[in-house]
């Protein structure tokens, strides 16, 4: 007996097949290079170039990681990256939340204009402002300093936009209840609004952390040595130090650069759960 599929079952199967195909493409495009970086970082130098490719490092070596530590001031770059990322994330999250709160809940003249300006700022690529920013930072004598790297990057438009839209989606009656209960703006923000906003705030924080950790072009322009340069700039130094043929230490450096961000990601993403407004409204 042959089984014939009903049309909807057939289209369901087709859709599933399409889904798996998409998954496969994503794995090839994203996971494979990542794996290649990881594998290469444990290979001996000649093994990286063998044809056909070897998928597993054999023998496994950690000499690339030693080379990273001895070749460049890895610890300095790591420290700089942490400083830059932590400061930038803190500033951007605080500014983003405060400005979003103002734009969502406070009534003031010019509110619409401010919002338009922020959305417009989202559309300007950072490369366009880079030259004038560089002139300004040079004029201030901030080259090769944390201030020179951090201050021009501390503006926030995306976060304001994201958080404002989230705040507007919160149940208005709960905010009115806070108003009736005589909670001031700061207390409303901290005790009522933010507790209903953790998932969005964490997503915003994560995006900011990743973004700032990976800052490359601007720090490259401003930093002149390992006293302020972050890891991505340090990796370039590594490449220069090792020459263009020794990819092992560069891959090891890349892995070491990725690990902290991966840890942050895994820690935070568990908290990106929905349903924080459960129980607020309706029975």
């Amino acid at each position: 007996m042959t089984t014939t599929l009903a049309p909807h079952e057939r289209s369901g199967a087709l859709r599933a097949a399409g889904g798996y195909l998409g998954l496969l493409v994503v794995i090839l495009v994203v996971a494979l290079p990542l794996y290649w970086i990881l594998a290469a970082s444990f290979k001996e130098r000649p093994d990286i170039y063998t044809v056909p490719v070897t998928w597993l490092p054999d023998p496994v070596t950690t000499e690339n990681y030693t080379a990273v530590r001895t070749g460049v001031d890895f610890v300095d770059y790591l420290r700089n990256s942490i400083i830059i990322t932590v400061v930038l994330t803190a500033v951007q999250v605080v500014l983003g939340v405060l400005s979003a709160y103002a734009l969502a809940f406070l009534r003031f003249p010019g509110r619409g204009v401010v919002l338009m300006v922020i959305i417009a700022a989202l559309m300007v690529p950072s490369q366009i402002t880079m030259i004038s920013n560089y002139a300004l930072v040079s004029g201030l004598g901030w080259r090769n300093s944390f201030a020179g790297i951090i201050v021009p990057l501390a503006g926030v438009a995306f976060g304001t936009f994201l958080m404002r839209n989230h705040f507007l989606s919160l149940p208005t009656e709960v905010l009115e209840a806070a108003e009736m209960d005589a909670a001031g703006p700061i207390r409303t923000l901290l005790r009522v609004v933010l507790p209903m906003s953790w998932p969005t705030l964490i997503a915003f924080t994560l995006i900011t952390v990743v973004n700032e950790w990976n800052q490359y072009l601007w720090p490259l322009l401003i930093a002149e040595d390992s006293s302020v340069a972050p890891l991505p700039v340090g990796l370039t130094q590594l490449q220069d130090a090792e020459g263009l043929t020794n990819w092992g230490p560069v891959m090891a450096g890349t892995v070491l650069t990725m690990v902290p961000i991966l840890v942050v990601f895994l820690l935070l993403q568990r908290h990106m759960i929905k349903g924080l407004t459960a129980g607020a409204v309706k029975g």
Partner: protein, 367 residues
């Protein structure tokens, strides 16, 4: 303890041509339980929010205890609100929800705790104080929302359909609890509902709104027995009043049928046509064989609804004056449960003439 006065208070929403509340004139006495009732969209919530300070007043004034609060912020009005959705803070326990307002105005931790405990005792929430709203039943959430209002001991309670999210049975018991609680606390209360039963059973006085306009304010009995117009007559009472339209007036008498004629009270030339309103209990089924009298109406039974303690008979009048029509197509008659009625049966209905209401062509009552 406070009075509330709406003095020609209006609210027109931006981009709207009609006011959602139109020149509302209303006086709520000290300690009174006033129910605002009307169909959905008539401006009940808007009126309440104008009193609470959540909605700007675009015309007229709102006074609390004689003081103009029109321009005052919600938090400075000493008014507490129970929202339809309860609007509890999901991240706080029941106790924290109730104590939040007190902590915000600088009441000490110890006193907050004592006042929350007292409110919890009154509302029988003592064992729920450490729970979050998401882990509570609808009825418990409703009581936490009540508790949040009463711990503040405000001048005025505003309640916006606080029972509409409860199931029917809980609604009836909570209805009595809220009314009882309000009597005990003696706090002036404005209570909004679309449910006329709630209005009739809970309110000291009831205010009926339609399309943002005040229709009538009065005690439940007053609204029931002396409605000012056909809208109030039809809105108050369940099942609804029977309205008989286009009844011709001849020589000062409204002629519903050959046998039912009603005196139209009128100064000068009265209307040529009236609407007659008869409550379901204003009609009686005449026992078989009894001789017909003036005021009787012949009808045929179309449907029967037995409620257990009473029965509602839906009947179609058969000998109306030509041109006269019954709104909704049938007359509803309340009969005792012992009365035997069958579908399709012809009936004679006797009208309690002293309970009949008459309305002019504009819908206003004729007195």
């Amino acid at each position: 303890m406070a009075t509330v006065t709406f003095e020609g208070a209006s609210r027109t929403y931006p981009h709207s041509t009609r006011p959602a509340v139109d020149r509302l004139e209303l006086e709520v006495h000290d300690g009174e339980f006033l129910v605002v009732v009307g169909p959905s969209g008539c401006g009940k919530s808007t009126s309440l929010r104008m009193l609470a300070g959540l909605e700007p007043v675009t015309g007229g004034r709102v006074l609390i205890d004689g003081a103009d609060v029109t321009g005052r912020r919600a938090r400075d009005r000493d008014v507490a609100m129970v929202f339809q959705s309860y609007a509890l803070y999901p991240n706080m326990t029941a106790g924290e929800n109730m104590g939040f307002a007190l902590r915000n105005v600088g009441v000490s931790k110890a006193e907050t705790k004592a006042r929350v405990a007292e409110a919890a005792r009154i509302l029988e929430l003592e064992d729920q104080l450490d729970r979050r709203p998401s882990r509570m039943s609808g009825g418990q959430r409703q009581r936490v929302a009540m508790g949040r209002a009463i711990v503040r001991n405000p001048k005025v309670f505003c309640m916006d359909e606080p029972l509409s999210n409860l199931d029917a049975k809980l609604r009836v018991s909570t209805r009595a609890e809220i009314a009882g609680l309000q009597r005990r606390l003696g706090t002036t209360t404005v209570y909004v509902t679309h449910d006329q039963t709630e209005a009739m059973t809970m309110g000291d006085r009831v205010c009926v709104l339609l399309d943002g306009e005040l229709q009538q304010v009065g005690s439940p009995t007053e609204l029931y027995e002396r409605p000012r117009n056909t809208f109030v007559a039809g809105f108050i009472g369940s099942p609804a009043i029977n309205l008989v339209d286009a009844v011709p007036v001849r020589e000062g008498r409204a002629v519903v049928s050959g046998s039912l004629e009603l005196v139209v009270p009128a100064q000068g030339p009265g209307p040529s046509e009236v609407t007659v309103g008869i409550r379901p209990e204003g009609l009686e089924v005449v026992a078989d064989g009894e001789p017909p009298r003036a005021g009787d109406l012949a009808a045929r039974v179309t449907r029967i609804e037995r409620m257990g303690s009473e029965t509602f008979v839906f009947a179609e009048p058969t000998h109306l004056t030509p041109g006269v029509s019954v709104r909704s197509g049938h007359l509803v008659v309340r009969v005792g449960k012992r009365q035997v009625v069958t579908e399709g049966q012809p009936l004679v209905l006797r009208t309690h003439l002293d309970e009949v209401l008459l309305f002019g062509p504009d819908g206003d009552a004729l007195r």
